[in-house]
Symmetry: C2
Subunit: 320 residues, 2 copies
Amino acid sequence: MPGTEKFAIGIDLGGTNIKTGVVSSAGKIIDQTSVKSNAELGPKHVINQIITTAKTIIRKNKVNIKAIGIGTPGVVTVGKGTVENPPNFPGWKKINIAKILSDKLKLNVYVENDANAAAIGEMIFGAGKKYDSFVMVTLGTGVGGGIIINRKIFHGAFGAAGELGHVTIDYKGSKCNCGSYGCIETYVGNRYLKARIREELSEHKDSIIWQLLDNHTDEVSPRIIQQASEQGDPFAQQVIKDMGIQLGAALTSVSNLLDISTFVIGGGVAGFGKPLFNSISETIKKRVLTSIKPRVKVIPAKLKNNAGIKGASSLVFYKH
Amino acid sequence: MPGTEKFAIGIDLGGTNIKTGVVSSAGKIIDQTSVKSNAELGPKHVINQIITTAKTIIRKNKVNIKAIGIGTPGVVTVGKGTVENPPNFPGWKKINIAKILSDKLKLNVYVENDANAAAIGEMIFGAGKKYDSFVMVTLGTGVGGGIIINRKIFHGAFGAAGELGHVTIDYKGSKCNCGSYGCIETYVGNRYLKARIREELSEHKDSIIWQLLDNHTDEVSPRIIQQASEQGDPFAQQVIKDMGIQLGAALTSVSNLLDISTFVIGGGVAGFGKPLFNSISETIKKRVLTSIKPRVKVIPAKLKNNAGIKGASSLVFYKH
């Protein structure tokens, strides 16, 4: 193949779509494709989809492919590439996806949990480049996390470490989807956040949010909150500030426990920008142990569009 | 020297006393001594005390000494043996205690933070023998912690990981000594616990605790609570149960974050025994993520008397 530059195939396995890209060692996507996962058709179907898509994109792009990286939901067995019970993928149980794919595609295959892949992506290509250790927080429907310590992903005792969303900030708080109470996800996860705003909105009749929603309160979204906040709406501003205080409190527990002081925040809700980041950072600085205080840094993630493909491909360029 | 068995010198450096022992590889103390730390006289004095005591006990016990282990307050730089700002030791800043002692005593010297030494002690000699990964929780004046992952102490990014006492369970809770709010230490740390019991006692006029205290409410102690609980006092029983719920909530956050499911609980308050352990264990099992639930174990520490000396000496028998 012409050229000496090596590329990676990055596969972002999601419940809805399988996104596949050819990615340079600098993190540039030179080609990409997306197919429906059709997870309900079972693991065989999904795996065949992955193989066909990868084969096609490799054939089409005549470049040197170093290896394949996959980011997947569920628990991945460290060093083995086995995926266990990914949520929304019926019938999976435990499948050694790395072995199946490397047999078929004749390339090394690296597999990581998608939240961990996002953290490794930020370390290799994004906001974490300069940091030896940081915690990646992904704010979306739920709250995900990946922990990097000394340039390595931290897997914990059994491989499922980093469930940041289920760090509690109020043990008597409201019930979380996971069965526990007061998990940070119940405060700042999209699905809970929207519900809370809908509830509280009735007490803020003069909020700009009402105009922006044109009375369709079921269409409340992070984007609407952001717009209202930028237009000076006190309720929207308070919502964002409170999120920062709540996230900051959870991240302080994480910081004290792991002696980590850099936090990279990504995902849709991170679009709240400075007001959110300032509130998180101020809260951590107020609460964290004295020895950690001077090091605290809260920074936005850099990989935005196609973060999934980039995170998956970064596994190829990461020192395992 | 006669015999082939190797022994360790374990030094438990505390704000009040320096305890030094000769310990077998099975964790048996064959000789020990204690001198006042006189920390207020500065680091030189303290270090000279350590050297003199160690020399004396080595000379007296004619056994094969493999190396020296020290458990110390403060932050220890991993792999260097440097101790930074131990609380209650004025004038220390940063001292390479390992180098100073090994030069003087001609033996290898291993240094660890005292909470980490306690965890390693339980792993080598105590309740953690069978477990590859566990969290050691020490319930005393404050709440200390040490994290063992795959038979190694987890130091975190900068060496100060494991500050379990400052995991929050209520971000709007009462103020902690550390400056934050609702840290688990403010619920179950001895100094806070006693104050809370004294406060609440007035609402429980019929509690046995009153008789046990003979109206000296300032003498309330874990031992009194335990006695009252064993005699069936509902208030004392509720205090212990609540502690278990609060600790369980904090340990659930730890568990979800680190994917660790075994907890070894030590320190004076652990003397509450079964009622406390059951409450902790039930709480974690109720709250923790599904994949971790079946593995949850909450067990009492085994090293009780002289846990400090044993923990320090275990550093010699631990694979660094």
